[in-house]
């Protein structure tokens, strides 16, 4: 279905791998802190080294999310954000940026919109990947045909608790990259890395050739330095959103995000001969 160069997300990883670099994948909620604020935030990330940007469609009951993304989702919904506004925002962004975008949302948002219709609109808007935390393998199977009809990567989760057989199935069904969950828990800021993660990533490397992106709880340079050589990319959400939430002004927040983003992408883009 894809041409030999693969999907836009595939191409990002291919290029980075050639230089032994890692992807920086930030997550932001569409409509947080406002629709304009979201556009500025997107632009800041885009200009400071983001390789793929995850855009959240806010959901009222985000089961896999901790307090930060619960808060940003709530604010976005209070700002009147809905699925159509998210698609329109991406159309707007596509006028000036080609950075791959993966939408993250909960399955009811998609189902209620109509799964086929959702994917078609997403494709038309310029979305490249879809991440649905409450659609595990078992349920994805019933909806796979919809994904096959559009060129949108279905990005699946691998968890520390997934069995070996499941990991193989996830690798076989997933596209774009494997979203590796770095902890047992919900999204949010943590200061360290669960030591089990390294073996988990090594194990996954033996199972799949899909890129591995590690997310949940990643918030500082130390963590990233510790694990970057075991994966192909790093996903950071709550930390970035917290910088905005806690800043004295939005302008100040953007400044902090800029500093954080460029410092993180520096580590990920350093060319280092392995070993």
């Amino acid at each position: 279905m894809y041409d030999s160069k693969g999907s836009p997300i595939d191409r990002v990883f291919k290029k980075l791998r050639k230089n032994n670099q890692k992807a920086f994948i930030p997550f932001i909620t569409c409509g947080f802190p406002s629709l304009d604020g979201f556009f500025s935030l997107f632009e800041t990330l885009d200009k400071n080294g983001a390789d793929i940007i995850e855009v959240g469609i806010p959901f009222s009951d985000p089961l896999a999310d901790g307090p930060v993304i619960q808060t940003t989702s709530k604010i976005a919904l209070e700002n009147g954000i809905n699925t159509d506004i998210v698609f329109n925002s991406i159309i707007e962004i596509r006028k000036s940026s080609n950075t791959p975008i993966a939408i993250m949302t909960y399955f009811n948002t998609i189902y209620h919109y109509g799964t086929g219709r959702f994917l078609k609109k997403a494709k038309e808007a310029g979305v490249n990947g879809l991440i649905v935390p409450d659609l595990p393998l078992e349920e994805f199977t019933s909806y796979r045909s919809y994904f096959n009809r559009v060129n949108i990567d279905n990005i699946m989760f691998a968890s520390l608790t997934s069995s070996k057989e499941r990991l193989s199935a996830i690798a076989a069904q997933g596209r774009g990259f494997v979203y590796c969950v770095s902890l047992k828990g919900v999204t949010g800021i943590r200061n360290s890395i669960n030591p089990e993660v390294i073996d988990f990533l090594k194990n996954l490397k033996g199972i799949t050739t899909l890129p591995l992106a590690l997310g949940f709880g990643i918030s500082n340079r130390e963590q990233i330095n510790q694990i970057k050589s075991y994966c192909d990319g790093i996903i950071v959400g709550s930390k970035i959103l917290t910088l905005i939430l806690e800043a004295d002004s939005f302008k100040q927040g953007i400044k902090e995000v800029e500093n954080f983003t460029s410092s993180v992408s520096d580590i990920l883009k350093v060319y280092k001969i392995p070993g």
Binding site: F59, S60, D61, L63, A64, G66, Q70, L77, N82, T83, D84, Y106, F107, N108, T109, I110, Y111, H112, Y113, P133, D134, L135, P136, L137, E138, E139, M156, F157, A158, S159, L160, T161, S162, S163, R166, I170, V181, L183, K184, G185, V186
Partner: protein, 407 residues
């Protein structure tokens, strides 16, 4: 009697039963499933495996029956409410007295079963969510009984309106964790319990309180509650020599109702099964909990079922004077039964439930829970239209002491 048995037999082999056999793997038609984060899948599979193993285990079954008899106080009576029947002037009304279960509600049938299972599985910690507090109390009790550490998540709105149950949980050694996100009610208590569970899947057992959530909960909780219906079937045959014409139960998540309905599903051609949802302040006011009546299909808290939601699939807040019915979701098996037309779902308003609460208290000296009062309010409308030859059974799911002094 003979004729009835024949009728029963015929009904048992009817088309509906065949249809019903599509069951057992966590799907009820297309409803149900496990729409959960990947991290929880292995815990649910472990639970499923253990549940189906112990369900057939002789020792487990013996232990469960022992506690149901000696601790919960089963079987509960099926009581002919003569004064209520006379007052309504129509059908004969029987009450299945789940309010006489230990702690005053059907919830204990499920928690004793699940906590016993948790112990067999070697889990150390118990967590639960609660709305009305009845499930929290029943979980706290079972945890005390089996000497396990217990945390109960409860919305801050419910902590206020069901304060006596908060006191009871704490007295029995449970820690009550206040949830102040979202609507501050049952829905958010479930969210927080699930989030907590994701972070402690290895040693923690989540005791879900109704037939909701991902597989295997809807099936397992139903199985633990089916004792209500099994006893009822036997009791009504003993008393009346026939099956009832109607069975009425309130529906929050749907556990007391499926518990009493289930053994009668194969008789649904002539036993009318009616689930009563919370109409709150009226459907038009949008302040209600009539999920099956006025919600849409969707995915909520781990299952595909009906849910109250807006045009973009955002979950809407439910409303009911009864905390246990104040929930925008409903069990997937009910969604299936609604779609197949096997069970009919109705609603009654807060005000009607409050009337029924008083009526039963005055007529029979039984104070029902606000949740249960919804089923009673429906019966008050139904019974007068029926002749004295008709029999209605109401599942009296709980007693109302918790609701006294709360408006």
């Amino acid at each position: 009697m003979k004729k009835d048995e024949k009728k029963l037999k015929k009904a048992n082999s009817s088309f509906r039963e065949k249809e019903y056999r599509s069951y057992g793997n966590g799907y009820f038609g297309t409803f149900g499933g496990i729409y959960v984060p990947e991290t929880l899948v292995s815990a649910l599979k472990e639970l499923e495996k253990n549940y189906f193993k112990y369900k057939k285990d002789k020792k487990f079954k013996e232990e469960l029956s022992f506690y149901l008899k000696n601790y919960v106080g089963r079987p509960t009576p099926l009581y002919y409410a003569e004064r209520l029947s006379k007052r309504l002037g129509g059908a004969r009304i029987y009450l299945k007295r789940e309010d006489l279960c230990h702690l005053g509600a059907h919830k204990i049938n499920n928690t004793v079963g699940q906590v016993l299972l948790a112990r067999k599985m070697g889990k150390k910690f118990i967590i639960a969510e609660t709305g009305a507090g009845q499930h929290g109390v029943a979980t706290a009790a079972a945890a005390a009984l089996f000497n396990m550490n217990c945390k109960v998540f409860m919305g801050s709105k419910d902590i206020k309106r069901q304060s006596s149950n908060v006191y009871r949980m704490k007295l029995m050694g449970a820690e009550v964790i206040e949830v102040s996100s979202g609507s501050k009610t049952l829905k958010d208590a479930v969210n927080e319990a699930i989030r907590y569970w994701v972070s402690r899947v290895d040693d923690t057992y989540y005791v879900l309180g109704s037939v909701v959530g991902p597989h295997p909960y809807p099936t397992m909780v139903r199985d633990f509650q089916v004792i209500i219906g099994k006893e009822t079937k036997k009791q009504i045959m003993d008393i009346e020599g026939r099956l009832p014409d109607y069975i009425v139960a309130c529906v929050g998540g749907g556990s007391n109702s499926i518990g009493i309905f289930y053994p009668f599903l194969k008789n649904a051609d002539f036993v009318k099964l009616i689930g009563v949802e919370a109409g709150g302040k009226g459907i038009k006011s949008k302040k209600h909990g009539a999920t099956l009546g006025y919600g849409d299909k969707g995915i909520f808290q781990g299952a595909f079922s009906y849910v109250l939601q807006d045009d973009y699939g955002q979950i809407e807040e439910a409303y009911s004077i009864a905390a246990g019915l104040d929930y925008p979701g409903v069990g997937p098996e009910h969604a299936y039964l609604k779609e197949k037309g096997i069970v009919k779902y109705e609603y009654v308003l807060d005000s009607e439930a409050l009337e029924a609460f008083k009526t039963l208290s005055i007529c029979e000296g039984i104070i029902p829970a606000y949740e249960t009062s919804h089923a009673l309010a429906y019966v008050e409308k139904l019974a007068p239209s029926l002749g004295k030859d008709k029999v209605i059974i109401v599942n009296l799911s709980g007693r109302g002491d918790k609701d006294i002094g709360n408006k």
